[in-house]
């Protein structure tokens, strides 16, 4: 199975609208929204949930005030200043390391795994979709991304799908690392701005670090043509395949308001054709047509 992950560095570059457009073009494929922190793909694809699973993330410490003798050992050992002077754990500060429990002489600390979110297998009008929701303020988004990628892979193998198109998370930290490690290729959606260029370089460095081939697509390219040229030059210097440019067009926003993909909102339009040609360039790219590897990420 091939896995294409659409990322952007910053988010807000039109990544999700473009991923949804690809969903309507892709054949024999599965969708995965690995932006578990601020998932938006479901707003366009309106998935019907078929299966729901709890996501069990890390544990947090809790002190049983009845058993606690106030010796202060836990406060001293906690590296994250998560325990107050009166021996209450602040769940926002607790890293879930379990050190306090390991050293409490009176066995006064409980440390249980918690449900930190949920993940779903759903049906959409473009095929099945795997997606998730991380609880507010939770850690372990990388672990949740690994969980849904594994679920997507199993589902694809089960039902004979050949391709997964993934809407990736923003940034370069744990969720992105979990989303791209071992993927066939990433598509970086970038806007022609100084910050867009900067974000693209960071995320391209990340892809290179994990040896994932990367392609680049410039969205709203006509907002700054000089910067578009700089980004394309930078892409070719880095051996990133430029798969196309998309003009600024408010149809993307209007389609979003209607919960439609661009091909449903304006079929046959120039914009739709441009996205089709980008999709064609991606699917015929050398990196998407290499013999397959089988590596799963190991973020925990």
């Amino acid at each position: 199975m091939k896995e294409l992950v659409v990322i952007s560095g910053k988010g807000g570059t039109g990544k999700t609208s473009i991923t949804a457009a690809f969903a309507s073009l892709a054949q024999n494929s599965l969708l995965c929204d690995s932006d578990v922190d601020a998932a938006d793909l479901h707003l366009l694809l309106c998935p019907q949930v078929r299966e729901q699973h709890d996501f069990i993330g890390g544990s947090k410490a809790e002190i049983d005030q009845q058993r606690c003798t106030g010796c202060g050992i836990c406060v001293e050992r906690c590296q994250f200043s998560a325990i107050s002077k009166d021996f209450v754990v602040d769940p926002l500060e607790c890293e879930g390391c379990g050190v306090c429990r390991a050293f409490c002489p009176d066995d006064a600390i409980t440390f249980t795994p918690r449900t930190c979110g949920a993940w779903f297998i759903s049906d959409t009008r473009f095929g099945p979709m795997v997606h998730a929701r991380l609880g507010i303020g939770e850690e372990n988004s990388g672990k949740l991304v690994s969980v849904i990628r594994k679920a997507a892979r199993e589902l694809a193998e089960d039902r004979g799908y050949r391709l997964t198109v993934t809407d990736g998370p923003p940034g370069i930290g744990c969720p992105v690392i979990a989303a791209i490690t071992g993927a066939t290729a990433v598509l970086i959606v970038v806007e022609p701005t100084l910050s867009g260029l900067h974000d693209m370089e960071r995320v391209a460095d990340l892809a290179a670090h994990f040896r994932i081939p990367a392609m680049v697509c410039i969205n709203k390219y006509d907002l700054n043509r000089d910067m578009t040229a700089v980004i394309e030059a930078q892409s070719s210097r880095r051996d990133l395949l430029s798969v196309g440019r998309i003009p600024f067009d408010s149809s993307f926003t209007r389609a979003m308001v209607e919960a439609q993909t661009i091909h449903e909102y304006s079929p046959g339009s120039d914009l739709s054709k441009i996205v089709e040609s980008i999709w064609h360039n991606i699917m015929t790219a050398e990196c998407m047509n290499k013999p397959e590897r089988h590596v799963l990420p190991t973020i925990r």
């Binding site: 922190d37 050992r77 507010i136 910050s195």
Partner: protein, 284 residues
């Protein structure tokens, strides 16, 4: 007073707001870019006299000559950063959360201090602004420790503007939790609204006062406005979609440098925030 500028998703104009707000004021302040995965503020506020400091965190180093392979360290580690194979301990430093538990528990004192680079903190000045930002090392998975290091620069009684990372999970919370006010930047689109709702929930859990800046105010639809009214969220500023504004941004230029009118709007935005904080009994 500490003002965090946050948004549910990236690309809504958070950096535009934090940089223009900081540049519009004529008093000394500290500006911190805590979006350490994709810092952008330095592209707009180009600091002088910059210096860089490498930030590292603890990872265990096993002294094979002392280690008996008892496995206590691996049993304690919650993050699978240690594994005992036969009598040998394997360390996966990128998974370590630096809790020191392994070092504390080892009966043979076989674990010494190693280091993993988190990234760097860059500091400099730009006119009245003391500016610092974190830059996460490419390949480093954990951003909260570096965000905390950037936040640790804050001195009591200072005016601080924090550019927080997008989202509602641990990095965003790490950046917002010490602030007195959270300024939420959103777009009036379905995606913008959906992500805004999550962020408002997070801010309310933290118990912080907040207000909205609506960017590209004339695209999308009116649902954000209805939501703001229903939730009694004050709309403190609206920025229209204008190609000229988008172009300035694309070149890394500040709106308040080009337009006195916008400078005044941003100064007023600050006054509104101060008034809300005063009402909440936070001293600016």
């Amino acid at each position: 007073m500490i003002i965090s500028v946050a948004s549910g998703k990236g690309g809504t104009g958070k950096t535009t707001v934090s940089t223009n707000l900081a540049a519009s004021l004529d008093r000394e302040l500290r500006l911190l870019d805590c979006d350490v995965e994709e810092p952008n503020v330095h592209l707009f506020i180009k600091p002088e006299h910059q210096h860089s400091s490498v930030q590292t965190t603890f990872v265990p180093v096993i002294d094979a000559s002392r280690c008996t392979g008892c496995g206590e360290c691996a049993a304690l580690c919650e993050f699978n950063a240690l594994a005992v194979i036969g009598k040998k301990v394997l360390v996966f430093p990128e998974l370590c959360h630096s809790c020191l538990g392994c070092q504390m528990i080892c009966p043979e004192a076989a674990i010494s201090d190693g280091k993993r680079e988190l990234g760097t903190i860059e500091t400099g000045t730009w006119r009245h602004i003391l500016f610092s930002y974190g830059r996460l090392r490419v390949g480093e998975a954990m951003s909260p420790p570096l965000i905390s290091r950037v936040q640790a620069l804050i001195q009591p009684q200072e005016l601080v503007i924090v550019d927080a990372p997008p989202g509602t999970s641990c990095p965003a919370i790490a950046a917002m939790k010490h602030s007195d006010f959270v300024l939420l930047v959103t777009e009036p689109t379905p995606f913008g609204l959906h992500d805004l709702k999550l962020t408002v929930e997070a801010v309310r859990q933290l118990g912080k006062p907040c207000g909205l800046v609506i960017n590209r105010a004339d695209i999308g639809n009116h649902d954000v406005y209805r939501y703001a009214e229903r939730e009694s969220l004050p709309i403190l500023m609206e920025i229209p979609f204008q190609r000229s504004i988008a172009e300035l941004y694309s070149k890394g230029r500040l709106l308040v440098e080009e337009s006195e009118e916008w400078r005044r709007s941003y100064a007023q935005l600050f006054d509104k925030i101060s008034a809300i904080c005063a009402a909440e009994e936070v001293t600016p």
